[in-house]
Symmetry: C2
Subunit: 216 residues, 2 copies
């Protein structure tokens, strides 16, 4: 499927890079630790970063019950954007330089997750960050869950743009004697750093997380 779900999500600039299918949206969300949310209030327009995760066809965020932002996000249509930069694209001419990236823009309104569902969805968040950790830690208490608000937004009205691969040169530039190519950028997982004063050994699931990303 490559049909935009709404006038709001139709990509106009470099429309060849646009995608609207769920698999692309889900993969971009799943690779993100944070999203940026644009919304407005009496002080103007804001762009706030916050941690996010996905379950099914929804993107989830959480915060304190006292958060002004969370209240605002249920009162208006917002735009949630995730961007991964994958490389710098070096062409033979200055003008043809570009970046490789994957971005998703999601439009809609957040809704509150019911109190009865909060524990399960916050555990899913932990599982998305660090598979295996939930069983190892002191679980959330009733008071802690009560102090936390979880919101979700459907991934129905979403537009992605993805650029990958080498430079696109103008016809006139193909004989220009400059090197061209791609400079890849990747996010890597570093070696776990045990907290000061903690004598517990590094658990197997932490080792697995690190090694799974090419760690030693």
């Amino acid at each position: 499927m490559n049909t935009p779900p709404s006038n709001r999500t139709r990509v106009r600039r470099v429309a060849n890079n646009a995608a609207y299918d769920s698999a692309t949206v889900h993969a971009i969300v799943d690779d993100a630790y944070v999203c940026h949310i644009a919304f407005t209030d009496d002080h103007g327009t804001h762009c706030i970063p916050t941690a996010c995760w996905r379950e099914g066809n929804h993107l989830y965020i959480h915060g304190s019950n006292g958060s002004r932002m969370l209240k605002r996000l249920m009162e208006q249509d917002v735009c949630v954007t995730i961007t991964h930069v994958d490389g710098l694209v070096m062409a033979r001419s200055a003008f043809s330089h570009s970046m490789n990236y994957r971005s998703a823009m999601i439009y809609g309104r957040f809704e509150k997750v019911a109190d009865d569902d909060k524990a399960a969805t916050l555990e899913a968040f932990m599982e998305s960050l660090m598979p295996g950790r939930q069983a190892d830690i002191r679980p959330g208490s009733a008071n802690e869950y009560a102090a936390t608000t979880v919101l979700r937004i459907a991934l129905d009205e979403a537009a992605c743009k993805v650029r990958a691969g080498g430079p696109t040169e103008e016809e006139e530039d193909v004989d220009y004697p400059a090197w061209s190519g791609v400079l890849p950028l990747t996010r890597v997982r570093g070696e776990p750093v045990t907290a000061e004063g903690n004598g517990a050994p590094v658990p197997a699931y932490v080792h697995a997380w690190y090694r799974g990303a090419g760690g030693a």
Copy 2:
């Protein structure tokens, strides 16, 4: 200096992590390839990612003259946000988990860079991406510069939040027998990939960029 420049930028949540000094703002911008810009138009509120760079106390962006977004950005106050995720912070309790990050939120209005200054500032952009490349490539033509709009926004009204270091545990959790610590996340530069059909050797400045980030 750690005094917020405006009511709009005063950090209310976890205010201990807030910083308002230019050095912190500049460092966060300098480490970014893209920023996210929140603005509004007749279709609602948008959050758009775009490449950025810094000169002095301004953040710069560029695009096609035909861009709807660039026009809007000069007509209203907007919010530009940059976020770097530096690690996952694993505490002994689920509730105390966190992330290490550096974020900057910049408020203000974009202004157009004068035609006479466009070439110099786009060359500064290239220099910020890839030091040494400008001299190697086919420079921008008069037509290419004429088709490009460059905007800038002052970094005067900006708020940063920075979290670093290990987990902060609740008093009641310090004896809980779970491992705790930080899982670092880093952006790394990959080995340059020469474009298909390009026979030029990889230039020294490209090798330097790669090696400068720990490449072989």
